[in-house]
Amino acid sequence: MDKFKYIILLLFIVSIQLTEAQNISLSGYVTNKHDKKPVSNVVVKMVGHNISTTTNNTGFFKIQYKDITDPKLVTSHVGYLKKEIHIDETNIVDTLYIELAPAVLNLTEVEIIGLSDNQMPYSIEKIDLKKIESTNLSDIGGIIAKEPNIGGIRKGATGIDPVIRGFKYSQVVVQLNGGTHIEGGCPNRMDPTASHVNVNDLHNITIYKGPFALKYGPNFGGLINLETFSPRFYNKFENHVSIFIGGQTNHIGYKSGVRIFGGNSSISYTASANKNKFGNYKAGNGDIINSSSDNYNIKAGVGIRPADDHVVSLNFDRSWGRNVDFTALPMDERSDDTKIYEVSYLGTKFKNSINFIKFHAYHSDVHHKMDNKNRPFSDTVVAISRIHAMNTGARFATNFRALNGNFEVGANYENIYKDGNREKWLIMQPGLPNFTESIWNNARINNIGLFGEYQQTRGNIDWIISARTDFNSATSDPMLRLKPNGTPVYENNDTKSEFINFSFSAGLSWHINAASEISVSFGKGTRSPDMIERYIILLPIGYDPYDYLGNPDLKPETNHEIDLGYKFVNSKFGSFSASVFFSYVTDYISTVRVPPSQVMPQTKGVIGVKTFTNIDDAYLTGFEIAYNTPENHLWEVRFTSAYTTGINPLATVYIVENGNVIDEATVKNDPLPEIPPLEANIWFNYKFFKKKLVPELNIRMVAAQNQISEAWDEDSSPGFTILNIKVNYKYSDQLQVNMGVNNVLDINYYEHLNRRIIGSKTPFLEPGRLFYINLIIKL
């Protein structure tokens, strides 16, 4: 597909609306309604536009904008109720005086202190509840993968593993509620973090691209924060219920859930139960793809406000996964039992300069069972893997005003534990012999980190610097694989490693005028090797047919990234943003073949053993472009386009003949594997009946991916264009119906990041035409 097609299309849309507009400046003071004292750090935003500012210590703010029809300001602050102010001619000339009423605190709003996400100098994508509720997808990874320059590695019915700007697996951090981490059980990552969270419990998703957001933990290539529904407080006692029922054809199944929540100003609660169940689906060419899954969970939370501005909340989530098909992996998920415990404290409005103190602790516990019983080779060997993975940690942060800005300092702690084995039954042998092999052997990783972040707005410039240092240590019982007769195939007793990593980022946004903004960010993010890279014992886990062996001596890898961004927002033109990035990765974690003289492969069908190693460097670069028509029209057009390419300057290719490695060669500038191709999306919608009925058309154009890794024996993938239609109907605040048709033209296609069907080069096809409907009741 011609890449210029997208650029021409973008220029055409942009040219429709480009007009001159007048600069208007508006200033004012924000005070507390009760004590009349100035309120600092209030975000003042122009409704429907990407224009905002923050009040200083005297409560003063100044905001500039171009000529906007029916302009409205909205204020937001963690400790005060939101207030909307209509701007008329009087306001424009006079200073505004805005009084805010103190609010009953709700935890999810804490992050608005300081620069809001849209003031950050680096790229952030937000997926709100409306978007989550309007999709038919039940896999959170699949929802995330719809965002620009984000893809998802798909191996089965669920558990799509996000790829941000070419970074994947542990290069991308996925966390829950600002700090909870979940260690999945499967060595092939069939259960990444997001797969342990039910989509119906999800309130919003924030994606921070690049290694810039450092306060949550080590960040290498990007951070995804999943925010679930938390207990919220009300001024008087209230009870609410929310019901979600969604069903679809083709990939036939349903997602459903009920949530009850309520409370008063002192105590609040939330409790939910969800069940999602899907069957196989028919691809565009009529092939039936095994893709069934069954997931259900219960979640409960309690919020307590023992004193004004001090909130403690407790959450518990228990989820089950049963019989989930992973057509591209050697095994299917037979069962997944996950428990997540969280406790949080948030204190605000202390008498000194402290904005807030926050503490978050968690424990996640995953029991994951997989088997090959639905694979042809189970006729001779039945293999069952059981993994126990735990992640325990805490985060403490305090945010305070100093040096005309906001400091946030704190510490994080994370302890990961993993143990598991594979039981093999030779079911065609007399006496039914069976033996057990270790996959992980009581492996542990500890990470203690200290972080600091400083934000300031000076004149037309918002800037932020942050740094963190991590002490990372890991150990495991001996990495040992025995033959059935007890002799060792592989043994490594030297499993300890310790690292001190330093990460740093800095960025600024220069508001050239009310409409234009340029931003630049630089970041150095270092991550230590993960459980798989350090301690996996002879198991096929990669894109290629090799047994993999962990390397406890592996060094951390470091991403040095620079981002440049430009935003233009205008009431008549709409909003346009573009960003480019360049990443230079040192000590890039890749793989190298282990000679058979050192260790022999242990899995049927693989051609050798690979271990993890650091290569000198690799680099990635790409761009994102987005355009939105103004929000004050009844019609809307949105456009996004994104592209990433990654290069390994010196890769080793193993030459295979008749299932044996016969030679190796060096390839210069080999593309990095599993990077999504150039993609562009256009959406058209029109708002009928006072915006109650909104039909939307989406054209998704994906180019062929021919930048493929020779070293990983990656296959190219063809381009495709698909058409999706949806209609959102909001009958009232209590009743909403979203319905749609995906892949209207029943195109036969697959994503480049979809793994191949196990044991073949057959692509894992996406569903053909699919109808869905979601019913949402909120009482």
Partner: protein, 120 residues
């Protein structure tokens, strides 16, 4: 009150749909032998058990049935010492033949029929 009207049926639908694993009736049948033979099989406790069968004629059947969950291993393996004998082993799941095999005059190798109870 009207909120409860919505909650109760929804919860009912949710929890009734969280069904247990389907269970199947497994039947092992062996025939065809004219003299004693040894069998090893997985029993209802999921343990490997041995037994000696003493048939009177090739028509005599040894039958063992139990209830198993989806995914459980089913396994029968037999051997005889009489060169004039033969053996036919069959595994049925819910009355339908799942796998079967037979041999004749093979006193050296075990005849094994095995698999896992398929997931629906």
């Amino acid at each position: 009150m009207y909120k409860i009207i919505f909650i109760i049926p929804t919860l009912f639908i949710l929890f009734t749909s969280c069904s247990d694993t389907d269970r199947k009736k497994i039947t092992y049948v062996t025939t065809g032998a004219i003299s004693a033979y040894n069998l090893q099989y997985i029993n209802d406790k999921n343990e490997l058990t041995s037994t000696e069968v003493l048939p009177q004629s090739t028509q005599d059947q040894w039958v063992y049935s139990y209830i198993a969950d989806e995914g459980e291993i089913v396994y029968v393996s037999g051997i005889y010492k009489d060169i004039n004998s033969s053996l036919n082993i069959m595994i049925l799941i819910d009355g339908k033949v799942y796998k079967q095999a037979s041999n004749e005059a093979d006193t050296l190798f075990y005849l094994t029929v095995s698999g896992t109870v398929p997931y629906d």
